[in-house]
Amino acid sequence: MHMALIQFTSKGIYCTQGDFYIDPWKPVKLAVTTHGHADHVKWGNQAYLCHELTKSILLQRLGADLQIQTLPYRQQIDINGVKLSFFPAGHVIGSAQVRLEYKGEICVVSGDYKVEYDGISTPFEPVKCHTFVSESTFGLPIYKWQPQQIIFDQIKDWISANRDENKTSVLAAYSLGKAQRLIKGLEGYGEIYVHQSIANLNEGFIHAGINLPDTIRITPETKKEDLQRGVVIVPPALTESRWTKSLLHAVTGICSGWMQVRAGRRWRSADAGFALSDHADWPGLLSAIKATTAERVFVTHGYSAVFSRYLNEIGISAEEVKTQYGQEEEKEEVL
């Protein structure tokens, strides 16, 4: 019988032996951080440990006076006898799965992940373990993504149809992750104008050595006529803003996995929806979990009840755990 390496507490995922938390939602001494989305990293921890590419995000989002230690992927450190290392999660730039090892027991906390390479984040790498902690944002068999090239072709077709009709193409994408993925995927397809929240993050990434295509920061001086020929990328919260509505014949396209379902598209009342997600789809979740060969799976957020029930039915021992992840995705953009 293995001793439990992690516990699910009211503050977050706790490593008992190491005495640290992973993505805690209440302030703790040491917060090991999988990635920079607001539902995974909170303000007020005494110290943070994250992948080196996540550091600039934390500094921008939580303030400049943080105590942050960073690690590259695959490098192992020791915390109170627990060997800790980061492995790429493929979710957004700098996103990491946290591998913990203690006395031969291995546990991987994956945060958020996707298995398809998005062209900009370090690709997901399966890590063998005994216990795997998984998300299930899209843990229903209705979610099966098309290869991203097909989606990008759809987006490009949409943009060029808009240009033909002198419409301004506005794409809604989370400032961390989806925005950079779009910038990369639309490289060479006209000028890309980005909202300041995206521009700030981009600067951090470029500073950290990420090769991002050029974009233009939108300022009060930016001419609306210029935007008309290019592509505008804004955080989702701004799609219905007065600014967006003031653009010349603006049409909005939302890039999100929820756009897979017609209801998702109509709910957001966008002009177009593209099912482009930074989370694993149903086959992605299953293949990732199988690749870990884990004996036990904890499902933290998304369709956790459904997904863990299915895992149990196919012979993978799984349990739903209550966390606070996934709830603030919508609020994430209010920087």
């Binding site: 229903l140 068999p141 209705i142 979610y143 099966k144 929820w258 897979q260 379902v261 017609r262 209801a263 998702g264 598209r265 109509r266 709910w267 009342s269 966008a270 002009d271 177009a272 929806g273 369709y303 009840a305 459904v306 029930r309 299915y310 039915e313 709830q327 919508e330």
Partner: protein, 540 residues
């Protein structure tokens, strides 16, 4: 079918009427001619008989995708549409084929009466040859149930624009009797079939809700006020010895209302009346709940005929002596209508809907307060010199409804919505108090803003007590004011009564669950409405 699939996608990705019309026009410009009548049939609700049952489709989809039943159900609850769920859960197609819409529809029709094995082979192979979006369309072809936000008015506008024809002509043509397999697009649009068809109705003239004070409409003498009846809008057509009764839903309902069949003898040929189908007993309009017993029944028994006798309150004349009267002004049409009703030998079944006399708006507002006593929903205001328009046109006809009934309730269950609300808990069940118990009285899913829906959704997620499949039992804490149009006895509901058109009027954040209404409050209201229909205008 690719072009049609593209059309559907365009219609769904815009919420602007002009974009939708443009998409329809370009479809009718570019699509294959044989497909077009089928598309018109689909969008106007002309459904072919369903060749394969939902149960079988579901069974085959589950089998093909290799997922357990319960997982299919969970998926369905999140998608909110069966055709779409099936299209999404199936494995990717193996060999894509491109066929005409009409070919698919004909093949589906020919499945009628075939054995299940045969049907299954066809359906599975079709699924395996179509992409997700086309599969969705294909499944919709089977159910015949296309709801994609295209009103018949919108379709008519598009067809009129595309073919450079008058709107009303197109409306006639597509509302008449025709089969997509037996008519060409050109003949359909040209109306080649409608002259030989005695039954065709005129498009109804509809009214907008009055949202301003009536004083702003100008001089009272320019307006005619009538009661707004709470029944089924109907058009009675008598031509060449035949009688047809059309409902507002563009359905022929002649057989449902034998009380009106005497008109076949008594109405002159070439007469079309507009009015309201109501249950009328001893000259008094009965509550809608009573009329309801008579709707959509194939066989009507004696008790129903006694309990809910049908009458017709007529208020307009669209055709007389075979002539279209719609461009006569209302006052002229009304005079002629009065004569027609007067000449009927059978009295008190087809009744002239009375004009509410008034000299000033205040007087009319007072009269409107009595609406409920007459089982009316308020008033209609029609300009005396108005023509009979096709569909809704702002300015000439207004409905000035009375405020709905309201009841304060507490939310006890929540369920994820369907359609565009599939990812949020938006369908709520509400209860009133009965002693120390809570009794369910209504389900409602509209009336909140998107922002409020998100707030309630968050509340449900935090305060779910139990899960029953897609349903969550929640802490009875949120109080909502439910508005409704009527109340009826119901043996099916635990409360013993059912509300008509319940919807959320507002979220009463100022009230706690202790302050909600009781079941007794509603029972008293029920008694009151039933008494009204017997005693008519008696004031409470």
């Amino acid at each position: 079918m690719k072009r049609f699939s593209q059309l559907i996608q365009q219609l769904e990705t815009s919420n602007k009427t002009n974009d939708k019309i443009a998409a329809l026009v370009s479809y009718f410009n570019e699509a294959d001619d044989v497909d077009k009548p089928y598309v018109i049939a689909m969008f106007t609700g002309k459904r072919p008989k369903r060749p394969v049952s939902t149960a079988l489709l579901k069974e085959w989809a589950i089998e093909k995708s290799g997922i357990p039943d319960w997982l299919f159900s969970e998926s369905y609850h999140n998608v909110g549409d069966l055709s779409e769920t099936i299209s999404l859960i199936l494995p990717p197609p193996k060999h894509l084929v491109n066929r005409k819409l009409q070919e698919w529809i004909s093949d589906l029709a020919s499945l009628q009466g075939k054995e299940d094995v045969f049907k299954k082979t066809f359906i599975l192979s079709a699924w395996d040859s179509l992409e997700t979006q086309e599969r969705f369309i294909f499944n919709k072809l089977i159910s015949g149930n296309f709801r994609i936000g295209v009103s018949s008015k919108m379709l008519v506008n598009a067809l009129a624009k595309q073919s450079d024809t008058e709107n009303s002509k197109i409306m006639h043509s597509i509302m008449g009797k025709w089969e997509p397999s037996q008519i060409t697009y050109q003949d359909l649009i040209g109306g080649a079939h409608v002259n030989t068809d005695n039954s065709w109705p005129y498009p109804f003239c509809l009214a907008y809700a009055l949202e301003v004070e009536p004083e702003s409409l100008g001089a009272p003498k320019e307006w005619q006020a009538e009661w707004k009846w709470d029944g089924i809008r109907g058009q009675i057509v008598k031509r060449n010895g035949e009688l047809f009764i059309w409902s507002r839903g563009e359905e022929l309902v002649t057989e449902q209302f034998p009380e009106l069949h005497f008109l076949k003898k008594e109405l002159e040929d070439g007469t079309v009346l507009d009015g309201e189908i109501l249950s009328i007993k001893e000259g008094k309009v009965q509550a809608f709940s009573i009329l309801q017993q008579r709707l959509n029944r194939k066989i009507i028994n004696k008790a129903q005929l006694n309990e809910a006798p049908i009458g017709f309150f007529t208020y307009d004349l669209l055709e007389y002596k075979g002539e279209d009267k719609r461009s006569d002004v209302l006052s002229v049409r009304r005079k002629q209508l009065e004569k027609i009703v007067d000449n009927l030998q059978t009295k008190n079944v087809v009744i002239l809907s009375p004009i509410v006399k008034f000299d000033n708006w205040l007087q009319l507002a007072k009269a409107r307060e009595d609406s409920r006593d007459l089982n009316s929903e308020g008033l209609m205001l029609k300009k005396a010199d108005s023509l009979y328009h096709s569909g809704r046109k702002r300015g000439d006809w207004w409905k000035w409804k009375i405020d709905p009934y309201t009841v304060d309730t507490v939310m006890i269950y929540a369920q994820k919505g369907s359609g565009r609300r599939a990812n949020f808990f938006t369908d709520y069940t509400f209860a009133v108090r009965e002693g120390d118990q809570l009794i369910t009285i209504a389900k409602a899913y509209s009336g909140l803003t998107d922002k409020e829906i998100k707030e309630v959704d968050a509340f449900v997620k935090k305060n779910a007590i139990e899960k029953f499949g897609p349903v969550r039992t929640v802490k009875p804490e949120l109080v909502f004011e439910i508005a409704f149009e009527g109340i009826a006895e119901s043996k099916r509901h635990k409360a013993g009564l059912a509300l008509r058109f319940p919807r959320i009027a507002r979220w009463r954040r100022d009230k706690t669950a202790d302050e909600i209404n009781t079941l007794d409050d509603l029972k008293q209201l029920l008694l009151l409405t039933l008494n009204t229909s017997i005693h008519g205008t008696q004031q409470e």
